[in-house]
């Protein structure tokens, strides 16, 4: 039987939104669906290694210094308060045994969820493949996402 597909665009790099994306993605995979997560724009921060900055020119380096990388350094979409919000949220998540984003990433790989990186954002932000964690399945563009989305049973933009 052909597996049903679930595709998500992870545009946001906020801890709360990315958490929702991973909860749905891992659940869908556990329900026997084929899942692809297409990371673009701020969403790329989830898959970027923790680094001081990256980029090829001065502007990119300045932007990527402000635009913090790493799955454990995501801000909250509300009540970020210079990092106090996410710090509190992480403690609350731990108290309730909710996996962290890094743990969800690991789970996603175990569940064979495909992680796709948008090449457009990748390029104009001046990223290199070394800036990203291991386990990226594909570097691709909008056409790949749309080709997947039109075949998918469920398609989300988060």
């Amino acid at each position: 039987m052909q597996k049903e597909k679930f595709v998500l665009v992870v545009f946001s790099g906020d801890l709360d939104k990315v958490l929702a994306a991973f909860i749905l993605a891992t659940t869908a995979a556990s329900m026997g669906m084929e899942v692809k997560m297409f990371f673009t724009f701020w969403g790329l921060n989830v898959l970027r290694k923790k680094k001081f900055t990256s980029g090829k020119n001065m502007l990119q380096k300045m932007m990527n210094f402000m635009n913090k990388s790493g799955a454990d350094r995501l801000p909250l979409s509300k009540f970020n308060m210079l990092g106090m919000g996410p710090a509190m949220m992480k403690v609350m998540m731990k108290q309730s045994k909710v996996p962290s984003i890094e743990e969800f990433l690991k789970m996603a790989k175990e569940l064979e969820i495909k992680l796709l990186v948008c090449t457009t954002t990748f390029s104009f932000m001046g990223f290199k493949k070394e800036d990203f964690i291991d386990g990226i399945d594909e570097y691709c563009g909008a056409a790949t996402y749309l080709a997947e989305a039109r075949e998918a049973k469920v398609s989300y933009f988060i």
Partner: protein, 76 residues
Amino acid sequence: MKADETLDCFGLLCPMPIIKTAEKIKQMKVGQVLEVSATDEGIKADMPAWCRTTGNECLGVEEKNGEYHAYVKKLA
């Protein structure tokens, strides 16, 4: 209800009981019954929904003293 295997999901929130159930069921044989124990109320609706989608049978979800025991028969 008698179960061949058990899975302890006490204290875990959605979607962890479902993800762990999927993992566990994979290692079981067709016809065997799994008992999933949890404290998250979501399991009452989520386990039947998971079973519907994956083609397994939900034999029922029992509730007592804030604990939930869901029984899943592996069919697929």
